[in-house]
Symmetry: C2
Subunit: 232 residues, 2 copies
Amino acid sequence: MMEHAQEALFRPVRAGNAFEETVERLMQAIRLGVVAPGERLPSERDLATRLGVSRVTVREAIRSLQENNYVESRRGRYGGTFVNDVIPKSAPGKEFGDIHDALTLRKVLETGAAETAAGRSLGPAERRGLRARLEEASTASLVEYRRKDSRLHLAIAEATGSASVTAAVADSRMRVNELLDTIPLLEPNLTHSNAQHERIIASILDGDPAGARLAMAEHLDGTASLLRGFLV
Amino acid sequence: MMEHAQEALFRPVRAGNAFEETVERLMQAIRLGVVAPGERLPSERDLATRLGVSRVTVREAIRSLQENNYVESRRGRYGGTFVNDVIPKSAPGKEFGDIHDALTLRKVLETGAAETAAGRSLGPAERRGLRARLEEASTASLVEYRRKDSRLHLAIAEATGSASVTAAVADSRMRVNELLDTIPLLEPNLTHSNAQHERIIASILDGDPAGARLAMAEHLDGTASLLRGFLV
DNA sequence: CTCCAAAGGTATGTCTGCGAGCCATTGGCC
DNA sequence: GGCCAATGGCTCGCAGACATACCTTTGGAG
């Protein structure tokens, strides 16, 4: 028997109860900037269908987000649940093993995604989308940087044309962002990141898989060593 | 809003009910060869703890495996649930989008895993493990090939030192194996695969990340085009 | 001004899954 | 030969989640 592989295969089947996982998902959408401040979440009924949970559970999750000031709800037609400007919270106390694990998965996924995206023939809409995200990230202020950065990286994942890859990247980023939230974000890091972003996107748009991979790898290594430095 | 990213983020929160997901996991362990025919699964109490479900649910899952002749249970001390030699089943009817999605994720994960594994300094136990899995796969008969092949690929994932990567590769392989089960496995494919396996493992053991990635990419492209050819 | 569609808010009965405990069986150890 | 530890087999009550239905609020369309 492969004792080690068992640990991976016999991991818990569910990360938490339906309520917790629903909160997690909504938080992802907000923190990764998929639904920006001021924008509206899909309706409760819609979310219930898409997430595969009951509306009651969705409401409980939204309730908990309201209590933590992430969102506000308004009734009536053209009402809904709207994302606030806040960015509360930070969660400390990770172990080194977790960090290594999260960073390894991220590197595997995101370098692969960049290479794959560069190897596809992208449509005009996709190309425009990538440029738009790049522009958003490069002009972002310090407070909104993490969100805009995540949107850019998610757009790259989407450009692979694989929903599974996008989902995996989203999960991975959430884990890493949790860690990044515990260390300071400085102007020089940001400038450097933007330059790397440009290289990555240029390589993807030029259809240069090897270049995209390399540029992404260097980009990720930057924040990885920053993290390892601050957290160990 | 990034309409497309929402599809990934607002995907169903749980793949199925606890029972179904538990069956799925045990099937993974059996079909990927992590618990080989004749070997014993962990005890019900142990599985319940590790999988994070109640023992009742574990028992229902095992019951369903018994009914499909995958396993047999024996009572008493030194009893347990043992894996049979069978390999029933096959599930047809996939759409092209699913195939592309599954193959894209697999390529991202496994090429990344190979590269990462080659970039680490592996301990003697890990090196021995990789060689052993390679040997097993190369001497496997047609009927046991898929299982031995999966074990080898899982061992490579494990060599990244990241449990998350291993888990992701296991999930990905299950999806692809489901597809592979619907097409014939021929002796020449097998010979070719074995040669590629050797290159991959040699590159990893030599600490050659670029070589490992390339070898893995070629290996995966082989079965990918086979699949696309048979299934479209 | 009225209507009404679409959104959030509420209530209820059902069912799944869980925890916890106990029973039955088996084979090695003393 | 008897003990007993570890395993599968079984039951029952509770809590979480679900489906479904209905109520309330709101603002645009007609």
